[in-house]
Amino acid sequence: MQRIGVFVCHCGSNISATVDVEKVAQMSLLEPGVVHAEDYQYMCSEAGQARITEAVKEKKLTGIVVCSCSPRMHETTFRNAAERAGINPYMVEIANIREHCSWIHKNIEEGTEKAIILARAAIAKVTLNAPLKPGESRVTKRALVIGGGIAGIQTALDIAEAGYEVDIVEKTPSIGGRMSQLDKTFPTLDCSACILTPKMVEASAHDKINIYTYSEVDQVSGFVGDFTVDIRKKARSINMDKCTGCGVCSEKCPSKKISSEFNRGLGKRSAVYTPFAQAIPNVPVIDRENCIKFKTGKCGICEKVCQAGAVDYTQEDEIITEKYGAIVVATGFDTIKLDDFDEYAYNQSKDVITSLELERVMNAAGPTKGHLERLSDGKAPKNMVFIQCVGSRDVTCRGKVYCSKICCMYTAKHAMLIRDKYPDVNVTVFYIDVRTPGKNFDEFYRRAVEEYGVNYVKGQVGKVAPQANGQLLVQAVDLLDNKQILMEADMVVLATAIEPEAGVRKIATMLTASIDTNNFLTEAHPKLRPVESPTAGVFLSGVCQGPKDIPETVAQAGSAAVKAIGLLAKEKLMTNPCTAKSDELLCNGCSTCANVCPYGAITYEDREVNDHGIREVRRIAVVNNALCQGCGACTVTCPSGAMDLQGFSNRQIIAEVDAICR
């Protein structure tokens, strides 16, 4: 018989305000096997843990139930305390009476009754717990970074500097990401390319960093410390070893009217192209969908003009399989589609553009060579209107409910830069709120208003109507003066909401990383583990986790790198001991369990068994503990009930059910 101790935590007043903790302890004493019960203000504190270890020694406890916060919070804390007290750490169960009880119930009677029942279920479960021992698994000393924007580059550089090999997988032909499309950065007005390209060069020159551009992650298997990843290197149709990056192929390519992704569709590129001048690697890609050679079989000009003989039309996608210990997701963002926002006339007028498009317009390498001009007729604008929160903080289902965070600041930046360079242009910004939390952010915004005379109007724009004379009629409300506004503008710029890059859901699925309804990857803990995914060995860097500006992204990229380095530095990892186990007397070797196992952890063995005195050789299922992740699919599928999951056994779960329904 087990000797169980029950420890009820007050959690200050978080629990004790709506749960009578003393009563929970008293009632627990009535349960079979319970020889000790007490309550204490903070069980997780050193003094609280000391009470547990003392009670274990004094009362010779064999099992512990802690009634406290979620096991996701302090299970490890209490397991370690148990271990220090000399009992197996897996002889601890947590009754979650905070998140699942005290915080959601207001009535103390109701809360107490529920807490007693939750404690009872945990006691019933711990009675059936058995000591478990974690196994060990090895760590592959190599990291994968998915995404080659500033987040991915920074993470890779930091990991590489610590001495570990890093591979970057980037789906476009060059690293650089969104930051490479920006003209200037707030609040310092640094030139984006000037601060980014040195990082790009550093990453590509680093001997520990290997960059796969124009590549995607195809498949991921394995687990923390030992992931196996298939990387698809898409056919570039250019031999990277031979290409000298001279650019003659792009120059001579007859198919030049393809809309440039890098310029957000505002400029043109040829079918064989590098996205931008500072691209890394400086090796072009043939866009097979638009290449005349691939469409009709004729042409072949690029092959003829290439003196290095690098053009190779026969190249095929290549799959590279590599092992990694840690994976960092840095997939970044895109602006949302504006098809549902007809009132801003984005699709009707060329002079209504998104802020990211304005970045390209203002960039010297952009479609207008950096001149601010209307895209419809090339005239210089006199009146410009900026509309904030286009699709952000939008509770109708067409937009995003969250704040995109960066728009207030980049709009202030655009307004300031325009007023600085073209002082005769009137700039009006319509906003819901101006949010400027960040170092030197509010000062920057105030400069835009006070020094540069940007006209900020609190109010939303109802409609942007293109007029016959080419002007845009903006209808809006001024909430502070409580009046309607009708004004003509030459250009309208939409601060469009940002959302995670489209492919992130597929990547999250491959990594079994959690993702929220907005497609942002979920953290292991929103406050205390913000750069880790709940899936061990997967880390988050940049906007894939939530909207961020560049300094925040760089900071998070560094901390994701630190977490990855911490993992890679370990020689061995402890594995989860809650794995499946088959009862050799019940197993009939039917293979059903192996069919449902997602990890291929179940094999079959002919083994001599002693079934009540009958000795015979039987084919039975054997679980490889290093591979088993403990999902329990096999336990339910087993027709003879031979498979069970340690730590979550049939008897344990049934005991919990019984305790709850009693």
């Binding site: 079994t512 959690s514 709940p534 997602p598 329990g632 336990t635 339910v636 979550f648 779960i653 329904c661």
Partner: protein
């Protein structure tokens, strides 16, 4: 069933939550103070596919009035495919239960991600309300379990 004065119906509801999504969703509902009735008691399982149909039957046998399973959204399972098994198994089980008189409303499978505290709370509120409208479960219950 013993003959006692009719008291207010307090349903017994067992909620199986997978460790990775729904249990975390329930934690989020808690830390966001999104209330739902105390009748719901949560059992943590590694994956929704760990829930043996026998556990559901056992709950009803022991007097549960409703059983709800929560797992990761299809495609988001921490173990890749676990919730697909849940979906199939439970569809089959629930229709058989319905056939023997345990109404479909007493059983439910819901996908709740770790970020969906609000969904967890609204789901539980709806489910408890449904159980209230159905009343006490009289089928399958082991009479010896009643008091």
């Amino acid at each position: 069933m013993s003959i006692t004065a009719k008291t207010e119906f307090k349903p017994k509801i067992v909620a199986f939550c997978c460790n990775w999504c729904s249990y975390a969703g329930a934690d989020l509902a808690g830390s966001s103070r999104l209330s739902y009735p105390a009748d719901v008691k949560i059992i943590r399982v590694p994956c929704s596919c760990r829930v043996n149909p026998m556990f559901v039957l056992r709950a009803f046998e022991k007097g549960a009035d409703g059983v709800i399973l929560c797992g990761c959204h299809p495609g988001d399972c921490h173990y890749s495919t676990g919730n697909y098994y849940t979906r199939r198994r439970m569809t089959l089980l629930f229709s058989m239960l319905d056939y023997i008189g345990v109404e479909q409303g007493r059983t439910r499978v819901e996908w709740v991600s770790a970020a969906e505290g609000v969904k967890f709370s609204t789901t539980m509120n709806e489910f408890v309300e449904k159980i209230h409208s159905l009343g006490e479960n009289v089928r399958l219950g082991d009479l010896r379990c009643r008091n």
